[in-house]
Amino acid sequence: MMPKKILIITEYVNTNQILELFACAAKIKTDMSTTTQAILINNNKKDVLESLRQYNNDIINIELSHNLYNCDPFILWNILSPIVDTYSPELIITSHSSFGLCFIPLFCTKMKASCITGVKNISCNDQELLFTRAIVNGKFETQVRSERNVTGITIMPGAFTNKLSTGNKGKLTHIKSEKNYNGRIILKSIKQPDKSDCSFDHADVIVAAGRGIGDIENLYKIKQFASIFKRSAIAGSRPLIDMGWLPYPMQVGITGKTVEPPVYIACGISGSSQHIAGMSGAEYIIAINSDPHASIFNVADLCIVADLFLFIDAVMHDDTIVSAQGRM
């Protein structure tokens, strides 16, 4: 059954992320009778709220009192469930992010709704929605159907970028939550990451290493390889940073940095969706991996199936590289 009422629930990270949620809803809307309502948590940017109205979606801005932690799923449920009940949506959309994942499983459990996470595409087949999501580190995709009347989904960053059409201005409502809920999770402090520059911004080529380099001792070979480019920088995928082989500011991925260099060379990186989200904006992507089925090849412009270090050796021993290195 196609949803007639769509509800978006999000916190404010940036306007683009909210527009992607709007775009997802717009893609599903089949006719004029479908309505979309968006609940925004703690968005104090007036201009953003105003600009979001132009897409004909009603907006409810909820301001939580400062002592309420916005990722306590029970707090969100207490505050939002009356709104959800009144509107009674068939589809709830949120981001596949730490925020979305903190509450959507609880909401779906409470509402006896289906919960489908990590959605990267939605298709319509015979008045029925099919949700496409990646499994097994992005090697495979499944198409999933909801078996409930209500469905909650989280969408992958960057998955929905269809252009939005403007229409009548939606209604804007402000709700301030003054009630004192007894939260069982208390936010003490927030630590921002070390913003030290890794010169990613100035690099033409980012050479990124993954678990496939095998040993911390092999990092020097990656560094040597990177040195053949005029302006290069070294990066790593999450497992390398977790193992302490490279420092955190060098991590590329959802939980690290997002980079868009002219050339990105993934060395021994399998291509988890968390890594790909951080580098898929690169202009030209080269993947070197011994596993021909590695999902990194699905986003690469140039695929090199080879033993990483044999390949790097072959490059370093090529005449043009040898003579260029000799000149330096």
Binding site: C102, N137, F140, L302
Partner: protein
């Protein structure tokens, strides 16, 4: 203090050439199985807590077929005390809701102060089961935990958000935490610990087929679509290297 750790067995899927049928991944008979990596971090977190506090028991539970006994034994080798397996038919699909529903039976038999599990499974990547289990038990849940500290019965946790931002939280127990990679270095169980674990009994719980309550169905599985038309280099390794250099030379980055 009682801790429950929920773990999952997954197939070693980086083997090339896994066939896909219409709706199920066909796991070849010679496939090796192992513990979901994120769950290894969860067990290690529990064992570290056990080393710090007196009177701490760790139970470990999985929903799976008989072959999943191996990961339970490994968990006991790492330091868990008791193991429970909820027996299911591997031919059936169980959605995260069904799995959390089955798991919720365990804390209803014995109460736990803390439930830990990995942030997601590497195979299905839903990142839902922990939060759903907490919802069913009316427990607070924190996702993506990268540090745990228990100090005079107060639970301090650090939660990772996007872009490396971290939140420091105090959580009232009983609580459920989903553990992110990198929180610790999961230990390798010693041979003697593994041999001891092998002799331990695993409690098996049989289920009623009415327990299967899938909120979703998988209609199709296929290899992931390519987002870019990747050109694959062919030839010997030195030919590949030559072509790679030519392409980068054209781009003016060498």
């Amino acid at each position: 203090m009682n801790i429950l750790v929920c773990i999952k067995q997954i197939a070693e899927l980086n083997i090339a050439g896994i066939l896909s049928s219409q709706t199920r991944l066909d796991i070849p008979t010679d496939t090796r199985f192992r513990m979901n990596r994120f769950d290894e971090y969860a067990i290690e977190s529990a064992v570290i807590l056990k080393e710090q506090i007196e009177d701490c028991t760790i139970d470990v539970v999985t929903v799976g077929p008989e072959s999943a006994d191996n990961i339970l034994k490994r968990a006991m080798g790492m330091g868990a005390d008791n193991a429970i397996r909820i027996d299911i038919n591997p031919k059936n699909y169980y959605s995260p809701f069904s799995i959390s529903n089955l798991l919720s039976k365990i804390p209803r038999i014995r109460s736990y102060d803390l439930i830990l599990t990995g942030i997601m499974s590497e195979d299905e990547m839903n990142a839902q089961t922990g939060q759903m289990l907490a919802a069913q038990l009316n427990m607070p849940s924190v996702t993506g935990v990268v540090a745990i500290d228990l100090n005079i019965n107060k639970l301090y946790v650090e939660r990772e958000r996007e872009g490396g931002t971290k939140e420091q939280l105090i959580v009232l127990m009983p609580a459920l935490l989903t553990i992110q990679a990198g929180i610790n270095q999961p230990r390798y169980p010693s041979l003697s610990a593994l041999l001891r674990a092998k002799k331990k009994d695993i409690q098996i719980i049989q289920i009623d087929n009415n327990d299967m309550d899938n909120d979703q169905s998988i209609m199709r599985i296929c290899p992931a679509e390519k987002n870019r038309k990747g050109k694959t280099l062919t030839g010997s390794i030195s030919q590949k290297a030559r072509e790679f250099i030519e392409i980068l030379n054209e781009k003016g980055v060498l």
